[in-house]
Symmetry: C2
Subunit: 391 residues, 2 copies
Amino acid sequence: MSSPTILLSNRQIGDVNRSRVLRALCDHGPLSRADLARLAGVPRATIGTIAQGLVEDGLLEEHAPTREAGRVGKPSRPLWFRDDAGLCAAVDFGADAVRAALVNARGDVLTRVTVPCPTSTASAAQLEAAVVEAVGGVLRGSPAEVLGVGIAVPGVCDPATGIVRGSGPVPGAAGSGLSEAVAVAYGLPVLVDNDARAQALGEKWFGDGRGIATFASVQTGVGLGVGLVLDGELYRGAGGATGELGHTVVAVDGADCHCGLTGCWETIATLRWLRAEAKRLRLPDAERLDAAALVALGTPRANDLLVVYADHLAVGLATLVQLLAPERLLLHGDVVGGGELLRALVEERLRERSLPHLRDGVEVLLSSLDQDAGLLGAAGLVLSERFALAA
Amino acid sequence: MSSPTILLSNRQIGDVNRSRVLRALCDHGPLSRADLARLAGVPRATIGTIAQGLVEDGLLEEHAPTREAGRVGKPSRPLWFRDDAGLCAAVDFGADAVRAALVNARGDVLTRVTVPCPTSTASAAQLEAAVVEAVGGVLRGSPAEVLGVGIAVPGVCDPATGIVRGSGPVPGAAGSGLSEAVAVAYGLPVLVDNDARAQALGEKWFGDGRGIATFASVQTGVGLGVGLVLDGELYRGAGGATGELGHTVVAVDGADCHCGLTGCWETIATLRWLRAEAKRLRLPDAERLDAAALVALGTPRANDLLVVYADHLAVGLATLVQLLAPERLLLHGDVVGGGELLRALVEERLRERSLPHLRDGVEVLLSSLDQDAGLLGAAGLVLSERFALAA
DNA sequence: GCAGGATTGTCGGGCTGGACACCGAACACC
DNA sequence: GGTGTTCGGTGTCCAGCCCGACAATCCTGC
């Protein structure tokens, strides 16, 4: 059933409009009622009643009146999220720990809990226990009601059902046990989604995706994943199976990929490839090389490899650009370590690999969310569900 | 300005709900008020008032009561579009003619007008004159008010502004003259869009895209284009620049493409490639070969080439599948001539080039719209604009 | 032939929530 | 101190969905 064919009623209209107001605040930062009214093209009174409800619910609060020089008239009182508003428990997985955090609607990380756990080898039961413990620690310190729990899983999962269909880095996450265990333990809604998609939501709520209708958030490093926000909505596709940009063909008869296909982008643009090339070129410490180290080396031979790395990354990004014409590409993971130098190289190579009419429409940015991209993404899962602006 | 931040009012609620009802009728065919109510999960009375408005506006009509055996109770009176409802003037471009048609909301082609015109060499003025004449001929015979004019252009264009940024097959369409000329001549809204995207809309309204949330409509043959319907909405991307699937890289250091890039999918999956291969293999009449002729040949050597053609097509389609996980791929153009044999081959090759968890989620279909895909797509442009279900 | 059940479509009252016009409050400028 | 501008709030109106009840129509079973 594609079109749910759900009719709108005046009941839903209120929810939708409240969500729209919240979204506008997220996209633009603190705004007064009058600002919101201008933005939406409606009388101030309309916003007034909507905002009143949000303030009474404890979601928004009024800042002190702004006294800007040269501004005539009554000073505006900007509205902004309370710091205990929209609290989400966010979970993601490190190599040897389960990380959880309490995040508010502003994107502030209020509490962190780290539970040691060998995620790559832990059994489902061990993993469930670690996640439940981490979430519990976060919930205990919460100053207000928590909306729900978001879990970003590095693997294929269907958010509609909460079932993880498989995960390479965290095999124990497979199945539906994780979300069920947390839901049973704390009675909260649990949202599970792929980590790359969650990162995209993190960018949409708290990062450089705010106010951008169409962008792609690309995870680089060991694997290549992508989260797409298209026309303002996170795109999940049928069964939540999207984002396998890493396994698009960039060489018809290319090298075998670990996934069983051949010529995947992952065979030429991951750390595995980079390190193999570095070894071939006899660069020092090739086995532990990454973008940051490559930039730090700075030798001519290292720089040459950096350019090729950038070019190979651009190949896959160009596919995104040609097919979807996003306004921005936000890069996560290893590339961030390469800094502005690598970013500029990737952007340059991308332009050369894009059609003329697309060349100037896209900008490449390094994610500003840094280490917390996964956690903020997991929080975004909850916020998007709770404040869905869908209609 | 991503999120328009437009609030909903009780005024719009009516429009939205009317659109939803129309869309449901489109997706499911004739439905009674009770059917619609069940589908939407609302009381029959609600649908009743909505339907009443649509009937009074002359959009819908009641069919005769259905008398099905074994059905107790009052027989239902299905609602369906009147044959003069939702009339659109649709325009597309053939090699040596401008084609126009009057299409209703059912997808019936009521009138056709063909104006001879060498579209590949005609000046902008000549092309405008031909289009205006064709549209005029269609409008003259219209039994009721026409909602608007849809024009499907084989090229890059931005539907938001009506500006065609460039067209290989129809260079004279470039600029904004076409839509302005028609708008001035007849005072109707004019919608211009890329032909591959329009075809996708045609499938969504009248073809095998009905009721499918996420599908891709792929044009094959001389060029390779794609129209994407994602989560029920046609995806246009920033500036309407999407759909250049043909220029995604399938070979990092591949052959030069006419677009200036290298290793594009178009270099290995178009008729140009097919004919070059056929010539190399000394197949008869290689210069005029197409999928239909290749299947008709049926020789072992021809069949081998057919398999490679299918495989090369599958490369680009696999990119769509890995990245977007659509439920269906609808193929247009040359491939349709290859019939079920070629379709099955493409589907088989696509499965082999897709990740395991995506393999079974997608079906490959040949478009059933046939020659009228472009015209029906152009009509879909108008209907989508007029009956936008956006909220 | 006729009662009973089932299904469909319609009518009026109730409720939610935005649109509109107007008011007081706060500040800049003269 | 007066005037103009901007901001936020209040009360009334109205569109449109929800719910309950009712007439119309047809099938089944005796």
